[in-house]
Amino acid sequence: MPDLLLELFSEEIPARMQAKAADDLRRMVTDKLVAEGLVYEGAKAFATPRRLALTVHGIPPRQADLKDERKGPRVGGPEAAIAGFLKATGLSSIEEAQIQRDPKKGDFYIALIEKPGRATIDVLAEILPVIIRTFPWPKSMRWGARSAKSGSLSWVRPLHAITCTFGLETEEPDVVKFNVDGIETGQTTFGHRFMAPQAISVRRFEDYEAKLLEANVVLDAERRKDAIVTDARTLAQAQNFELVEDQALSDEVSGLVEWPVVLMGSFDKEFLSIPGEVIRATIRNNQKCFVVRDPATDKLANKFVLTANIEASDGGKAIVDGNERVIRARLSDAKFFYESDLKTKLEDRLPKFDQIVFHEKLGTQGERIKRIERLAAEIAPLVDADVEKTKRAARLAKADLLTEVVGEFPELQGLMGKYYALAQGEDASVAAASEEHYKPQGPNDRVPTDPVSVAVALADKIDTLVGFWAIDEKPTGSKDPYALRRAALGVIRLIVENKLRLHLLQMTAAANGGRPTNGGQLATDLLSFFADRLKVQLREQGARHDLVDAVFALEGQDDLLMVVRRVEALGKFLDSDDGKNLLAGTKRASNILSIEEKKDKRSFDGAPDAALYRLDEEKALAKAIDQVKRDAGAAVAKEDFAAAMSAMAKLRPAVDAFFDKVKVNDDDPKVRENRLKLLNEIRAATRAVADFSKVEG
């Protein structure tokens, strides 16, 4: 079956947009083909700085013919109905219709409409221009003389040529003829901008890719990336260094070149006095170059690896020279910034925060830092952190935001604070907190363990959450501009992974200081936000979200570590036969209760009366409940939820026997009420660990 080749040749496409554009092109074309009834065998899309390309193979040469049967009016029906039928079906007279016999309802007309399938090449010529005109670039532009008129083509950068062929492998393919804003399709593309700029005539994908390679264009971004990374490693190894791998950088660089040529340059060793991260940020962000490290010392070497887009006539000497000069200038700036930063003590920067607004409703950064310090000091004893060190750490943790290096490279916030704190002789824990208190930044980031860092990290995040809750700036749907979900998840991970015993309600009250709490609504609201985040977190680890609900349904569950323990124990218990049956029994009790509660418009709280028990099963159940309450209660008090579960398991035979032998709705209303109270006791007993009625299944 025939194949499609499409190439959109343009001026340089931003690296960050290329991968998605290739994907969009593939998706849009193949979706449309399928919608047109053209099921293909395979498709692959590619992007380089100057082109988007797509190959779709195994497309049928024609659409299938469509046959449609349309039921018409009955034979001898009103003329108007027959006229309408002819109009709707396109028949010229009723003789062309067939008659369907129907002895019961009477004969009626049938029109057989045949719609012949179109040649795929015609379908392509119709759908591709629309796809090009509506292509979802994040930003697109107009250009040239045609931009004087409205409705001119928008593309990411000026589009110069469209190659589009369709045909069988064994034959000369046809050009899919269409025109987009003056650009006629053809089979001519161009090679590398400098190394092979001449026109190339292509037939189909296989020769297209091969001819581009001859013309110094590697079509596949993955191949370019592999080449870059492999060559970079080799260059580094040749000098006994190792490449500092950088996935995001290799992705970006492979989108900046069509013909990667990897070269190594060096810089003056004196720059190695700057922290390695600063060197790396300078070289990476500004120059898109890799750095290398010495495996013996694990420190950066005075080398960098650049990716040029050309095999230069001098073997790359001028390119290396030029890049070395730029990097020298950049590193001089960085060194100057770093050294001038060191001249000011971190605490001396603090007054400036009083002038910087954190959020217009939440005051200045200075006020925020004071709040964090106060809260961190309250948390410190609860996490075994030294209070004075914690206060000092909280006071200095944000100071590096005002340094030159962080101004230049915001991603180094915290880390620079640590360097500057160490340089001015701060305690190691205090210095570390500058960097660590921002963690964890996401589900895969490391969680700090040093108690000082933990206290400051918790204080920072809880202050943020409470603050934005107080001004009612909560995340909604996909909008979470202040990354509050991340902050809440951070709090959860800090607590659970460090096995901390903290009461979130107390924490939020402390963070809130004297501010209005909206009648305590703020704290409960925030707690349910934590519950939601915990649910997401546990679900990702494979736990059932309904178990989290079942635990949070108990009053005052704000000790996250205990919540997690309860959920774990509950999960294990429900996997056992005892658990499943007890759950079924409890549910049955709950169901009966809720029906009867509705009927009588009352609840059946309160202790049952032993004197009203008529049957042995009732007495046995009452005894079992007492026993379970005692044992489970004692286990919960010891925070041994597994033991509480085993205790509850003992309830099962009594519950089973009760439902087997006892009729709850006894004719004697007093007996009935007593039995309902007993059922309520089952529910109450199981609430020692969770609200079983919230468990699904």
Binding site: G144, G322, N323
Partner: protein
């Protein structure tokens, strides 16, 4: 190039670089203009770009524009930051289909061989909040150094560009440093001569950098500047209002250029006030908005002038 005497060669002489670029774009058919006689922050502010980018009439021009960025002053001590520097500006309306090739040939003309050097077009979207303008394009890299800005204007002074112009801006000092192989702008050879005849960039501009840095950061009269801002803003509005005529069915404007001069003045006064650090973060935004409103009103006036409109 062989005909060029040594002191005129772009890799030896700052002025030789300027003259070579002028020559190249003159050969292409550009009008070679002289700098606009007002203080501006960038070559884009020259009415030959800001206003001429608007309206349907073709326009090809090139010029050097001294650019003042009061905040970038470093008392002449920073190797590549100045409060006064030169931009070489090219505007081609509509943007020709081979504008990238034209640009690369201009690099060849100043001695940058594209078979020896690594020339790259790296994404860089341009936006001027004060001019109400934006465009898409690249920064052009030569061996990792940014040597030019390349922009397809989409909107200027709040008006959609129809057709779109291509704008090229060469940072002359940086480009010259690259060509001459020096690390500090002050070390550039200005006139291409050697020995006693040599005039360096330092000889020409070092004292000016020191004096203006002092002025921009320490002494610029802020009360006067606040007043100048207001006066320019008022004058701009006044001239704009006075310039409207209703000739026949067509609304016509007769004073877009003088009004726009006042917009430039307001912008420069703002830049000086900003350098003096007397404008707070929130005020800053409102000043930028005020200048943008002037620029937009000037653009609106311009497209109703003889040169700015269709036909």
């Amino acid at each position: 190039m062989d005909a060029l005497p040594a002191h005129m060669r772009p890799e030896r002489s700052f002025q030789g670089l300027i003259l070579t670029l002028q020559r190249y774009w003159a050969d292409y058919g550009c009008v070679i203009l002289q700098p606009y006689d007002m203080e501006v922050g960038a070559g884009t502010f020259h009415p030959a770009t800001t206003l001429r980018a608007l309206g349907p009439k073709p326009w090809n021009a090139a010029y050097v524009q001294p650019s003042r960025r009061p905040k970038d002053g470093r008392y002449g001590e920073n190797p590549n930051r100045l409060q006064h520097y030169y931009q070489f500006q090219v505007i081609l309306k509509p943007s020709p289909g081979d504008i990238q090739e034209l640009y690369l040939k201009s690099l060849a003309a100043i001695g940058i061989d594209s078979h020896l050097h690594d020339i790259r077009f790296v994404e860089d979207d341009w936006e001027s909040p004060t001019l109400g303008a934006w465009g898409l394009g690249w920064e052009c890299w030569c061996d990792g150094m940014e040597v030019s800005q390349f922009t397809y204007f989409q909107q200027v002074a709040g008006v959609e560009c129809a057709p779109v112009s291509g704008e090229l801006t060469y940072g002359l000092e940086r480009l010259a440093c690259y060509l001459q192989g020096v690390d500090s702008i002050m070390d550039l050879n200005f006139n291409g001569r050697e020995g006693a005849e040599k005039v360096s960039y330092r000889d020409v501009f070092f004292q000016a950098e020191q004096e203006y840095s002092r002025h921009n950061f320490e002494y610029a009269d802020t009360a006067m500047l606040f007043e100048q801002f207001k006066m320019a803003e008022n004058a701009c509005r006044k001239y704009l209002e006075a310039g409207w005529r209703n000739g026949g069915n067509q609304k016509e404007h007769l004073m877009a250029l003088p009004a726009y001069d006042q917009c430039i003045k307001a912008s420069h006064a703002f830049n000086l006030l900003d350098a003096r650090g007397v404008i707070s973060v929130t005020e800053r935004q409102s000043y930028i908005l005020r200048v943008r409103e002037l620029a937009k009103a000037c653009g609106e006036a311009w497209v109703h002038t003889e040169t700015g409109r269709a036909g």
